[in-house]
């Protein structure tokens, strides 16, 4: 069974965990938040401001801003660039992620 791991060989340092909307996900050291989510089969972690449509990683290199997500309560983090740190709490970002500012 071919896999990314079988292609590059070796083995990772000790895995850790993050949570996504309260669900625990395994994370490998050095993976971005987007990579951890893809690894768990999750492709969407934001809804758009206008249409409420689901979005996730698109360009993978920090150019498109589609993968914005809330990390430890801070919205608008680019999931493809931010490294997942042990215990990070990642939550789906609704729109601007600033509902707390709504008037």
């Amino acid at each position: 069974m071919r896999s990314p791991r079988s292609l590059v060989g070796g083995s990772p340092a000790a895995a850790h965990e993050i949570t996504f909307d309260g669900r625990e996900l395994p994370a490998l050291p050095g993976q971005s938040i987007a990579a951890v989510l893809w690894g768990a089969g999750i492709l969407a972690w934001r809804t758009t401001r206008e249409g409420g449509a689901p979005r996730g990683a698109f360009c993978g290199i920090g150019s498109c801003y589609d993968c914005l997500v809330t990390v430890n309560g801070r919205p608008n983090q680019r999931a493809c660039l931010v490294p997942a740190r042990p215990g990070d709490s990642v939550t789906t970002q609704e729109g601007t992620g600033r509902a707390d500012l709504a008037v």
Binding site: M1, R2, S3, P4, R5, S6, L7, V8, G9, G10, S11, P12, A13, L28, P29, G30, Q31, S32, A34, A35, V36, W38, G39, L43, A44, T48, R49, E50, G51, A53, P54, R55, G56, A57, F58, C59, G60, I61, G62, S63, C64, Y65, D66, L68, R74, Q77, C80, L81, V82, P83
Partner: protein
């Protein structure tokens, strides 16, 4: 490490470097180590956390990949330069600044000005020093940083060109380069059955990587006809290495049973919460979908892209001249020594026209020789000319045909950030008289969102009936307001 912006970083004793290189991809890395070898003091600033840029993107050490080269072509060329970088860093000749995203380069020094040509009316001569402003580190701990240099090399590379289609915002539809980047750095796939589509040689590499990593790739859907290469025989014959590389990709696709469909395009992606299938149609010579040729191919991910777009905002912000490229993008005007039109600013790699990693490394080395005032040697000059000829041939073959907007239904989102459908952009162009992307933006908000038109720019230009205009973005990445507030008045 980073200091406050009013006290530019002191990478070496004296605080001023001979050369600041922006970008540690193939071009910037080659330039930095060559310049250091030629005796210059160099600062190498890069947005990523490891050198290599997008082409040589590789897993973090913690992922423990024993064979990172399995995901790459020409890994040895990177490995030797990375080793040289570490050696020069230890010796204090290069200050390597990872996680430093340069958001602006401004003239400074005795005759520093803010004019587009580097000179102020009544002032003699161009700027003698440059300040590079960067955001360093990850949120929420990001810091302001600045570097002062006598010369600057802009090696900011490229991002992927997208031509929208209905359904391209569905989860599971990702950039072809995006899928490659996520695999190279995170060892993950977007799905199990991944269709690869768009145009350009990158698609073959992406399909090969995805298949080697365990994905089923039902097809590579290429909009251009490879017969377009036939008119470029001289450039092809001068580059036998490129033909061997192409044959290697072909062999990999055959081994993994990947079908290659040329003159076809994905005209729609289907699904509710994620992509479940795509419609593929045959195209005419101008890339118009041919009626009656549509068929549905099931997949759980789609990796799509139409080549690359040079990333120019730092250069255009300095007033560097641009030119149209044969692939329909905009590139910098550069002389034989990689000088831009602004004295003191050099550029190398994709910014001068998309041409791949080998060309980028050759150009980086040429630029370093020029900055150091050392003759580059005839071999390097010939190599650059040969690879540039090949790049131009490829660019012409994969230039999008004008008919591609035929698959863009009015309800299809064009601007992903601001959720602007094609119909609104057509209305701005056809009914309200918008003739360029800027006017379309004012009328529809397309291109006004987070990505600042990087994703929708080519499509908006096409719908407005203009050739793509050069990038203009005052800040090349999000900058915390406190960083701007802390800037000393002289640099405003």
């Amino acid at each position: 490490m980073p200091t406050s912006p009013s006290e530019p970083l002191a990478p070496a004793a004296g605080g001023l470097v001979d050369l600041a290189v922006v970008g540690a991809g193939p071009a910037g890395l080659a330039a930095a180590v060559t310049a250091a070898r030629l005796g210059l003091r160099v600062a190498l600033l890069d947005a990523g956390d490891r050198p290599g840029g997008q082409f040589y993107r590789h897993p973090a050490p913690g992922l423990g990949a024993a064979r990172p080269e399995a995901l790459h072509h020409g890994w040895a060329a990177f490995a030797t330069r990375e080793a040289a970088l570490r050696a020069h860093e230890s010796a204090g000749r290069i200050t390597y600044l990872p996680l430093h995203h340069v958001w602006a380069v401004v003239p400074a020094g005795p005759t520093g000005t803010t004019g587009p040509t580097g000179t102020r009316p009544g002032e003699a001569g161009p700027a003698t020093e440059w300040i590079l402003h960067a955001v360093a580190g990850h949120a929420p701990e990001e810091e302001a940083a600045a570097v002062t240099a006598r010369a600057v090399l802009i090696a900011t590379g490229a991002y992927e060109r997208q031509l929208p289609f209905p359904g391209w915002t569905l989860p599971g539809v990702v950039g072809a380069g995006g899928a490659q980047a996520m695999l190279k750095s995170g060892l993950v796939l977007p799905g199990r059955r991944v269709l690869v589509a768009g145009s350009g040689p990158l698609l073959l590499a992406v399909a090969g990587s995805l298949a080697a990593a365990g994905a089923t790739v039902p097809a590579v859907v290429e909009a251009a006809a490879y017969t377009a290469y036939a008119g470029q025989v001289p450039a092809l014959l001068r580059n036998p290495g490129k033909l061997v590389e192409a044959a290697g990709y072909g062999g990999a696709l055959a081994r993994h049973h990947v079908r290659l469909l040329t003159r076809h395009a994905v005209t729609e992606a289907h699904g509710t919460d994620r992509v479940e299938a795509v419609t593929v149609a045959r195209l005419d010579r101008d890339w118009r979908p041919l009626p009656g040729t549509a068929r549905r191919i099931p997949c759980d991910a789609l990796a799509v892209g139409h080549g690359l777009v040079p990333q120019l905002e730092l250069a255009t912000g300095l007033g560097c001249e641009t030119r149209p490229s044969p692939d329909g993008t905009v590139a910098l005007v550069l002389d034989a020594e990689q000088r831009t039109s602004v004295p003191g600013i050099w550029s190398a790699g994709e910014t001068g026209g998309i041409g791949g990693a080998q060309l980028a490394m050759a150009e980086g080395e040429l630029a370093a020789h020029s900055v150091a005032g050392a003759p580059p040697g005839a071999r390097l000059v010939r190599r650059r000319a040969r690879l540039r000829a090949f790049a131009d041939a490829m660019a012409a073959a994969h230039r999008p045909g004008e008919g591609w907007t035929g698959w863009l239904r009015d309800d299809a989102v064009v601007c992903r950030c601001e959720e602007v459908p094609a119909g609104r952009i057509r209305e701005a162009a056809d009914d309200l008289g918008a003739r360029d992307a800027r006017t379309v933006k004012l009328l529809t908000r397309a291109g006004m969102g987070w990505c600042q038109g990087r994703m929708c720019g080519p499509a908006v230009a096409a719908l407005a009936g203009e050739e793509p205009a050069p990038d203009r973005r005052p800040l090349s990445c999000p900058v915390p307001l406190r960083h701007l507030a802390e800037l000393p008045p002289a640099t405003h």
